[in-house]
């Protein structure tokens, strides 16, 4: 399940909804990405997340389907926010649940790596009277690529 929204999300409530009445889950992993304040020259006051409505949902669905084809996930969720955010605010939530922890951990990392390089979001950071578009990091591309070679993962 995927969702793109301006509002905040409640991790406890999302978890409860996803796992309610389920006794087949042995391992549940959540990843939450939040706005870091930074320090010195990197200190930010706020951030705006622009996205490509329509394509965003399509990419998140594609990424989730890919994870579910690679790992035996009993449940999964991606929630990504857009709009104006402040330091400490939530940006993205990924939840993966499986019978075993290895699948849940790997799938959550995979989802984050793929989402970082494929979901059409752009961060604009504001610091005082200066604003700048965040640049993509080569390490994100490298993180996403490491899954390509693996194809179907173990377990």
């Amino acid at each position: 399940m995927i969702r793109v929204q301006e509002n905040d999300f409640d991790i406890g409530a999302e978890l409860a909804r996803l796992t309610e009445g389920r006794s087949d889950l042995g391992a549940i992993v959540t990843f939450t990405g939040t706005v870091r304040q930074g320090a010195g020259d990197d200190k930010i006051d706020e951030m705006t997340l622009e996205h490509y409505p329509g394509m965003t949902e399509g990419e998140l669905e594609r990424v989730e389907a890919e994870a579910r084809s690679r790992w035996p996930l009993a449940a999964s969720l991606i929630v990504h926010r857009f709009g104006r955010l402040e330091p400490g605010d939530n940006i993205v939530l990924v939840i993966t649940a499986s019978a075993h922890r290895k699948a849940a951990f790997e799938a959550a990392e995979f989802l984050m790596d793929y989402l970082k390089t494929n979901a059409p979001f752009w961060k604009r950071e504001v610091s005082g009277d200066k604003a700048r578009w965040v640049e993509a990091r080569a390490s994100d591309d490298a993180n996403a690529k490491r899954w390509d070679a693996r194809g179907k993962a173990a377990e």
Binding site: G33, L49, E50, H51, Y52, G54, M55, G58, H80, I91, V92, M112, L115, K116, T117, N118, A119, P120, F121, W122, K123, R124, W133, V134, E135, A136, D140
Partner: protein, 85 residues
Amino acid sequence: MSVKLLYFAWVREQTGIREETIELPQEVATISDLMTWLKERGPEFAAAFAESHVIRAAVDQTHVNHDARVAGATEIAFFPPVTGG
């Protein structure tokens, strides 16, 4: 053939346009051709597409390479490398 063009992030800021509908000229076959053609529309576009190698494109909401064909496209988007997550 008419096609909707969308611009995001600093590509949008530099072109000054969020979206527009244009008639695709005959000589434009690929994303690369389209960027070359766009650069000639004026200084804003020349600036936005000056470093066209870093710009990413999507045809009908799917990521494509610069050598992708544009024939049959309904919607073409240009944007910097994504930075979500």
